[in-house]
Symmetry: C2
Subunit: 214 residues, 2 copies
């Protein structure tokens, strides 16, 4: 089966959510699941679920629903989760430390091999499964280990430099927590997690519905 070329970001997000529901269902020993059940848990219509899944092949059995294991394996393959991704974190501050020591990423196949920082006081510290190394070692480390993903948690003014270093060394994707917009060349993939933007979306929504005395 060839990979479809254009899949929207929201479809990919829904696949992630279906996968979470499937894990939970499998944990309860249930073997099949309907599109209605997947729809209910993710807040979309059953038709949307069937459309999302049919874009990647034909899994459902009419009147029986989807096989929980099979569908889960398939979504994991689509999302690239059927393998391990070698990952490094640039910026060994509190956020970088929190991400590295949380088990959530490693459980999903994102193996954080090292953190990098410029602060001599942090070099050599152990954070969860990884050690903080000097930024000068990033290039060699990424090349030697074949690191594919870089997570940037530096202050904003150093984020583009961090991205440039990661890309020059060969990473294929960057998850950026710094508030700045980064420039990355094709075919490197970039995703931004901007916490201030999320909070601003929240206060906009609160303000919009009317703020008593605001």
């Amino acid at each position: 089966m060839s990979s479809p070329r254009k899949v929207s970001d929201s479809t990919v997000r829904r696949l992630s959510f279906y996968l979470r529901i499937l894990k939970e269902i499998r944990g309860r020993g249930v073997r099949t699941v309907s599109s209605a059940r997947l729809a209910e848990s993710t807040g979309v219509t059953s038709a949307q679920v069937r459309k999302d899944l049919s874009a990647f092949g034909n899994f459902g059995v009419r009147g029986r629903g989807y096989d929980v294991n099979e569908l889960g394996d398939h979504i994991r393959r689509i999302l690239g989760l059927n393998r391990t991704w070698k990952t490094v974190v640039v910026g060994a501050g509190r956020l970088g430390g929190a991400l590295t020591s949380s088990g959530d990423f490693s459980r999903q196949g994102f193996r954080i091999l090292a953190l990098f920082d410029t602060d001599p006081a942090k070099i050599g510290q152990t954070v969860g499964p990884a050690t903080v190394r000097p930024l000068e070692e990033l290039d060699g480390f990424v090349r030697e280990e074949g690191v594919q993903i870089g997570i940037i948690t530096t202050p904003g003014e150093h984020a583009q430099d961090a991205a440039d270093l990661l890309i020059a060394a060969g990473v294929r994707g960057i998850l950026n927590f710094a508030p700045d917009r980064l420039r990355v060349p094709e075919p490197v993939r970039l995703r931004d997690v901007n916490l201030a933007v999320e909070l601003e979306g929240l206060t906009f929504a609160i303000t919009e519905i009317g703020e008593p005395g605001g």
Copy 2:
């Protein structure tokens, strides 16, 4: 000027980005900015910038562009950033600690007044400007202080309980970092930051463009 009823999530995100560019431009002492300049920095067209901004009033002066201060103030008002938001964090783990002690939130008017946790070992600890309190005190604290925003960084299985407590005590918006989908009643506003979903979006994009030996 009445507040427009329906503004898309992506418009709100772009406003956040315009605001960042405006701050940077103001920092360099520049007084006016063109829609083309705002467009360039955010990766959209000038027409999109003008459309986004005209939805909230008429700021531009033809041929002169926008007044940097005025436009910044206006976007801050639209986003609800011209005031302080009393905020608490539920879950005093590493992520909760990183968010609380980062100065980024407070600089934008999100004042984190307390963290709440069930772990006796954490109660009483100081994290940045706030203290960790027992979860039983959440209800009284939120009511007395008039807390408007709750940030949830608990493990997934406790996130809905945390949301229920926050909502019962009167918060108006929740920023949820737990991977679970939360149910919140109208008119409470919810935004999810799901780091695993972001990473999965990244690996999907990398996988889609072809993985050598993958």
